[in-house]
């Protein structure tokens, strides 16, 4: 193997200030970059505003509500959630949802798996699996009642879900999980 180092001619290609001092300035590129910077700062500001409004979860835009036609069940949830961040799905029931002193609530598997259901409160009297989800049975007295499921989604993306209370049509929804 040769001991000669690899060499090339020195080319005087660096632009000069005062035609003497080699600086390498490229003002044309820099002007484009400044324009890009101004646009980037505007976008960054817009991102902060959207975040404050809840466009990326945990805010006004993220809140969603769905009800059965006769208002037997109203579901409050966050349509935009964040990965590995707690979120709560709240079910409010009126007397119309109570049958034989019980409320029977079905939630699809997607609430448990991709949306990461951690806890349910209050504790159901009975729970069973099947039909692609879990059915909870709660003992219920007269008057409005509330059930909460604490979520902690693991994976980003859109996760559709279905909830169903006995005697009512199913309610479909979707949660978009931000990374």
């Amino acid at each position: 193997m040769s001991n000669l180092p690899f060499e090339s001619e020195v080319a005087d290609s660096v632009s000069k200030a005062e035609n003497k001092v080699a600086v390498g300035e490229d003002l044309e590129f820099q002007r484009k970059w400044w324009r890009f910077e101004h646009i980037a700062w505007s976008i960054l500001l817009a991102i902060v505003i959207v975040d404050l409004l809840g466009g990326f979860g945990r805010g006004w835009l993220a809140r969603a509500q769905k009800s059965t036609p006769d208002q037997a069940m109203t579901l409050h949830y966050e349509r935009i959630a964040r990965a590995s961040t707690p979120s709560v799905m709240t079910f409010q029931f009126t007397d119309k949802a109570i049958h034989n002193g019980r409320i029977t609530l079905y939630v699809s598997d997607s609430v448990v798996k991709p949306l990461g259901a951690l806890r349910i409160a209050p504790q159901p009297a009975l729970s069973s699996i099947g039909d692609g989800g879990i059915t909870y049975v709660f003992d219920a007295g007269k008057g409005p009642s509330t059930v909460q499921i604490q979520l902690q989604p693991s994976f980003p993306g859109a996760h559709p879900f279905t909830v169903h209370v006995e005697g009512e049509p199913p309610v479909h929804g979707s949660v978009f999980v931000m990374p």
């Binding site: 003002l27 970059w33 990461g116 349910i120 994976f155």
Partner: protein, 180 residues
Amino acid sequence: MRFIRPGCPATSTGEILRVAFFIILRAVFGYLFLVFMVRIVGRRPGKQLTPFEFVLIFYLGGLTLTGLVGTEMSLTNAVTQIITVALCHYILTCLRIRSDTFAKILDGTPLVLLDNGRWRTRTMSNMRLQDDDVMDMAREQGISDLSGIRVAVLETFGQITIIPAGNNKEENTGESGNAG
């Protein structure tokens, strides 16, 4: 409160791969996002970071770390992400060497701030610099006023280089200040 499941472990092969993919993706995104943010925030003159810039650097780093680590706090995760960031850095460095345009996007270009006795006012304002910043660097070289500066250049690494007004002769004769 009824406990449904203890956390969210990945169960199927697809999910395990997805978790691994997101760990890598978080590291790549975190690195590129920080490079972008630091580039956008701009160059500041000076050989050392000011306390003001210390806050920015450490705060950005700390906040990025939270998102990068997530719930995975294992050594394996840390090692994987460090390797990923190192690979990203290697790729960016290779691209910078191969492409002049990419090098300019990543580092910018040196900018003349003072030339031929005139300030480049637009450059100064766009780079958020004042004449005081130039004089700070000039004083370090023993230059007492602006007339002693021939050219002032904001380098890509943030330092302001001052070429004194009395350098004409040295350049024309090819002499160097360090030639002794």
